[in-house]
Symmetry: C2
Subunit: 244 residues, 2 copies
DNA sequence: CGCTGGATGTCGCAG
DNA sequence: CTGCGACGTCCAGCG
């Protein structure tokens, strides 16, 4: 086993015994560090669902906010995980290094048992930044409100997030003939689900407004799938192609 | 800077210079290792959307399948990422360690620039296991097929994944009066979206079958939200409480 | 490849 | 806290 402490706020152990690994994890979490373990382990989860994972080499990350992530060499998603808000606990038990992360509401537990820890590290993290993302549905909405003719000539937005019994409508307005128009905005190509959503809003408004009020539903998205297009036609809804 | 090579298939560097860090990353990826970097960096993403992230301490994981994950001290989701299938590239440029992950279809790139690498590691991963998950929708389906009376006395399943113009129905069968019954199964409490889905299937079957065929739609889930319950009533659909 | 729907989805926001 | 919908959702399965 070897250990290292750098000025950069990193503490590591390579091939530690179980007690040393557990101590590093416990100390690290106590100091709000981000803790990483790599080695041979089994994983057991029980909560909303349940799962078991036999022995294998995995990378386990424990965050000071209570999140836990178990990663293998494949996939973007962790093979097992626990949400933020958990309590982490790590101890050496009969030569094994055992990490437990528990939460309530829902009651969930994740247990990782390391037969061998190949590497353990505690990182002091300072990250003042939050990322700025461009190209979201909010951007699309901004674009439509700034230039309503992108949807159609004579379209006038009157409200955003207008409440209906079926939920809030993205954009609510009227066309040049005074008909009510409901927009459902999607930042990317859409399937049948988005059409169903729009249809629920249109239906709710038709019932809510005067019986003589005409309500048009318009899906605004880069494109639609075939099934979605058929569903639009069937429900008498419209589609306007527009990209964020 | 210090380095370490253990018999357990782990290579690490603490506080390496840019060239050493880049070499470890490149060698590790070349050997199908899982690579982790920790240090002060900026992150730029461009693809389906776009984002920028100023300087901060983050943990970057590069997987041999092409996935890249950038984690801060908070959250279950990476603050930035790249999907499996990317090409990773790491080089030392003007004292900085720069990681680039690129893919096509869609064209996306993630660039992480480390001003300082506090720690770098390459892990040899061997993981033969895939996790067994209990409590999924598939389990609920199994339960219903084994004991159809859980849905209602006299219910007879005839097919699963039966195709309709609106998509495949979870379970298709008939009740004791010979009426067609469509089940939509959900492993957890459901909202309006699931009702919309069921409604589409029922509508498609009503159009597809003989005009005289009666079609019942039944949502099978642990529970429903208020809005979903209202929508069920409005569409003349039913609900049976059942937990996986 | 594209389409579809599930997921221990996660996350953020409003009531 | 629950409900609801967005998300660079991810992911498997199928045509």
């Amino acid at each position: 086993m070897s250990s290292d402490e750098s000025p950069a706020g990193v503490r590591t152990l390579t091939a530690p015994d179980a007690a040393s690994a557990a101590a590093l994890v416990t100390d690290g979490l106590g100091a709000d560090a981000l803790v990483a373990l790599f080695g041979r382990c089994t994983v057991d989860y029980e909560g909303r669902a349940a799962s078991e994972l036999g022995p294998g080499d995995r990378h386990v990350m424990l965050k000071p906010d209570g999140a836990a992530l178990v990663h293998t060499d494949e996939g973007q998603k962790p093979v097992n995980w626990q949400s933020p808000g958990c309590e982490h606990d790590c101890r050496a038990t009969e030569g094994a290094t055992v990490v437990e992360s528990r939460r309530t509401n829902p009651e969930e537990s994740l247990v990782v048992r390391f037969s061998t820890v190949a590497h353990a590290a505690a990182f002091d993290v300072s990250d003042p930044e939050t990322p700025e993302v461009i190209g979201t549905e909010a951007d699309l909405k901004r674009r439509v409100l700034e230039e309503p003719s992108l949807v159609e000539d004579g379209f006038t937005p009157l409200a955003t997030e207008r409440k209906t019994p079926a939920g809030a409508v993205d954009v609510y307005g009227e066309d040049d003939a005074g008909r009510t128009v409901v927009l459902e905005l999607k930042r990317r190509r859409v399937g049948p689900d988005a059409v169903g959503q729009l249809d629920r809003y249109v239906g709710a408004l038709r019932r809510d407004l005067h019986a003589d009020a005409e309500v048009r539903g318009v899906l605004v998205a880069p494109s639609v799938t075939g099934r979605a297009r058929a569903l639009l036609a069937e429900r008498g809804l419209e589609f306007v192609p527009l990209t964020p």
